[in-house]
Amino acid sequence: MTRLAPSDVMQLRKDFPILDQEVNGHPLVYLDNAATSQKPRAVIDAITHHYERDNANIHRGVHTLAQRSTQGYEGARTKLARFLGATDSREIVFTRGTTEAINLVASAFGPTVLGAGDEILVSEMEHHSNIVPWQLLCERTGAKLVMAPMDDRGQIDMAAFRERLSARTKIVALVHVSNALGTINPIEELVELAHTAGAHTVIDGAQAAAHLAIDVAALGCDFYATSGHKMFGPTGIGALWARAELLEAMPPWQGGGEMILTVTFEGSEYNEIPHKFEAGTPNVAGAVGLGATVDYLETIGMERIAAWEHELLEHGTEVLSTIPEIRLIGTAEKKAGVLSFLVEGVHAHDVGTILDLEGIAVRTGHHCAQPVMDHFGVAATTRASLAFYNTKEELDALGAGLRKVLEVFA
């Protein structure tokens, strides 16, 4: 497979209408991809086409539009299953996003394996969405949330992880790629340790699916949560992948239409998986858009995307290292395209505002990962997060913008 060359990237950028604009008098440099990614024309067109030609409610209608909508929705499920390395599309449950997928596992699966005194193990680098659902579950069940610490490069301390796993650990919930640090966790190894201890594993893949080739079978986990909008798809759609036998055994989460076969006042018979977990009319257009996203990403190839982003990350790291006032936060050996940093003497929000005036969009703040900020003893960082449509020239522009920040605050 040929690598993406800068000229290929310039061509791919044309697929993203939003990138072709000026912000505050400068060409837009979009480096906030970990917050949300931009959408290619193919995805925007698929959603428009759905509403202009195919829109109907799904599954029960017998008319032509209902069939087209159902095919669009279920077709997207099949595509996403293949994209994530799942063998059975029934193992994909559509959700609003990663957060809802994790909440689904916590609410429906959690109480089936947890009791008072049991433990849920998470890492110190989790996003709030992989902490708070487990805290709520602990309140419901009397279980205890245990944290596996990371080292100062932002990598899980494997010895501490092993030590905190025990026969009481029933669920291990871990982020695949850290949104605040970029760390790529060794999920296969961590999952194997967790399974050996008898725990089930839940992986937060929000930041992974847009940047790495995902193979849930190879990862070996029990649950994998992902998001559409982080991988160039629409907002409001995401998915939970789970092994079929686990979904079969789990009780429903929300009740309503779609998730039942028969309803009487004496009781209801639940639908088969995955529909059992999709109560109500789902986000059909969102799923159709997500299906188009998968098609689009597969034409490029996730390995090529990952390789280009790695090249960008190395270039960006180099650019930042030439500015002595900048300190990188998150220097794991295995990293995805996230550059989180501090600018000496300048608050992250001032950095963000000045970069914005240069047309550069970055994220500033705690990145919904306050425990990570606490670990490094900071309130906030500035974060530049990359996607395959970014260029080395844009990272040079970031460097120039940061020099301007330092000039203002000199």
Binding site: N24, V346, H347, A348, H349, D350, T353, I354, L357, T364, G365, H366, M373, A379, A380, V408, F409
Partner: protein, 153 residues
């Protein structure tokens, strides 16, 4: 650079780098904390109020240039003012930087704001209005005497 200098005026940069009345005010009899959960900024405002007049003011905490400069200039501006004058100044300041929610309701009247008028540039940056007003909300809470932590969210 014009927008940039409009926001980060020389006076604001000066007060952010060298905040005045920084540190705990030992003689304070009114204090309140301010917290902006969006950026993690926290500050504590101290006031010594005697006979209905703010005799001295101080603050501590960490924040961005806008919130630090705003707190620093607040402590200078309210010292010597009556409690009701300080409250009125807050209202004038708030309207000056944030309007009343609509861009066309921005006050064009900087009368009485003195040096604080330099914060007018903030109105072009709606995301930063909370930075400029955090210390003032804390002051208002301290004067009301309820001692509750003021949150911007």
């Amino acid at each position: 650079m014009s927008d940039l200098r409009e926001l980060y005026q020389t006076t604001i940069l000066d007060h952010s780098k060298t905040p005045r009345n920084f540190g705990k005010l030992e003689t304070a009899n009114r204090t309140a904390a301010g917290h902006n959960p969006l950026c993690g900024d926290r500050l504590t405002l101290y006031l010594e109020v005697d006979g209905g007049v703010v005799r001295s003011a101080g603050f501590e905490g960490s924040g961005c240039a806008i919130s630090t400069a705003s707190a620093s200039m607040l402590t200078e501006a309210v010292t010597g003012k009556s409690v009701s004058e300080a409250e009125t100044l807050f209202q004038t300041f708030h309207q000056w930087v944030a309007g009343s929610g609509e861009a066309d309701l921005f006050s064009d009247d900087a009368t009485g704001l003195g040096k604080l008028a330099v914060f007018g540039g903030v109105r072009e940056f709606p995301m930063r209005v909370k930075c400029a007003t955090l210390a003032w909300h804390a002051m208002s809470s301290a004067l009301a005497g309820d001692g509750a932590t003021v949150k911007t969210e």
